[in-house]
Symmetry: C2
Subunit: 214 residues, 2 copies
DNA sequence: GCCGTTATTTATCGCATGATAATTTTCTGG
DNA sequence: CCAGAAAATTATCATGCGATAAATAACGGC
């Protein structure tokens, strides 16, 4: 019955992919499953999602932990868009506009339920990745915000950005992230308020820095 | 060997507690374990923490899910301190002072690693408890903030507090919670900045409402 | 078109899990 | 002080888990 064997091929996906392609599919399945069920999701369910048998997974990852690390890499390491750096540095626009645009793009990535859930699961099980990503946020987003705002206000730029300078930016950045989770868990409709929430956060920062300057 | 039986009694805790007391001990053990390992922590580990055997747990809870619900009740339902309502309503103090005090007390409870971790675990597995608690925060904290601030500014109090009025309060409240998690996961030292962070958040709200008023 | 490399599957292990039934032990009321 | 209610333990089951070894089958190069 060649037809059976063919329909079988058609149904249970093509076998014998290149190692790289197979690995990618496994990671994709793991991302989806772990985002839903947390990192305690089983390797059998990952395999089912990838359309393969469970032991094959162990040809590509020596153990479950290394699969989890691959998920981290896919979702967190690769989530930073290199265009964003240019956006934040573009002094042809006012700081407020730059960061409004940036945060609209950034939250489009970061408010994705998959990203949000994995982020929270990861924070609860692995302090290291949380620490690393917070460092990235601080260096790539919050410190540039403080610096660019100083430039705009014509203030002395010789001083480094201090811990105290970052308190308010962290408060607002955290508030936005919290809003993302809230709106996902509560099922808040579509985009209602995302841009506006960002605008409010920036409003407060600009009001605050203005008050300090004057 | 009566002495052996006695030392045994001393070591492995007294048997035959009253049902209520035993139940409380089980829930306490579950709170500690689930906060650390998430709700996938095993019933055997809960039992070990409570100093009992695992099947006994099933005399007090028909299944694991009902134990989890008991943990929710212990940590979330019972976490609201009734004195707080009085604090927020006490018009002998300026709104800013009232909420500064309140948030210092509130974050003392809510920045407890056990509370923070369980809260995040719960949000990821059970939208309902998250929804319920967010409603409590909105009704008990954020709406009172908006209303009392209106009174202080002598503005029209006939209008209900709208979704838009709550955007900024939510942003700041979320920012504070985020700060709590951050400081726990990153192991930030002691109380450094907690009061100051609260003051900053309130500063921004008051600046914002002042600007809108003027 | 076969042949060997290797991607993939089948079979299986040891262990941990949630849950149940039967047994034992402890405390209390008469 | 002892009898019985019930608190607690021991023994056990079925299932699901991460992981490994052996068998099979698909594809590329000659």
């Amino acid at each position: 019955m060649a037809s059976v064997s063919q329909s079988k091929t058609a149904l249970q996906s093509r076998r014998r992919l290149s190692p790289d392609a197979r690995k990618d599919e496994i990671v994709s399945a793991a991302v989806a499953l772990f985002a839903e069920n947390g990192f305690d999701g089983s390797t059998r369910d990952v395999a089912r999602g990838a359309g393969i048998t469970q032991p094959l997974l162990y040809r590509y990852f020596p153990n479950k932990e290394s699969l989890i690390e691959a998920v981290y890499a896919r979702v967190f390491l690769e989530s930073w868009n290199s265009e964003w750096d240019a956006m934040l540095a573009d002094r042809s626009l006012p700081v407020r506009d730059r960061f409004q645009r940036f945060y609209e793009a950034y939250t489009e990535t970061v408010f994705d339920p998959v990203w949000l859930r994995l982020w929270n699961f990861a924070a609860l099980r692995d302090a290291q990745i949380y620490q690393w990503y917070n460092h990235v946020v601080e260096e790539q987003i919050l410190k540039p915000l403080v610096r660019e705002r100083r430039v705009e206000l014509g203030r002395d730029q010789r001083f480094q950005v201090s811990r105290a300078d970052l308190e308010v930016p962290w408060l607002l950045h955290g508030g936005l992230l919290h809003h993302g989770l809230r709106r996902h868990v509560l099922g808040i409709d579509a985009d209602m308020g995302r841009e506006h929430m960002i605008a409010q956060a920036l409003n407060m920062y600009f009001l605050m820095t203005e008050a300090q300057a004057g």
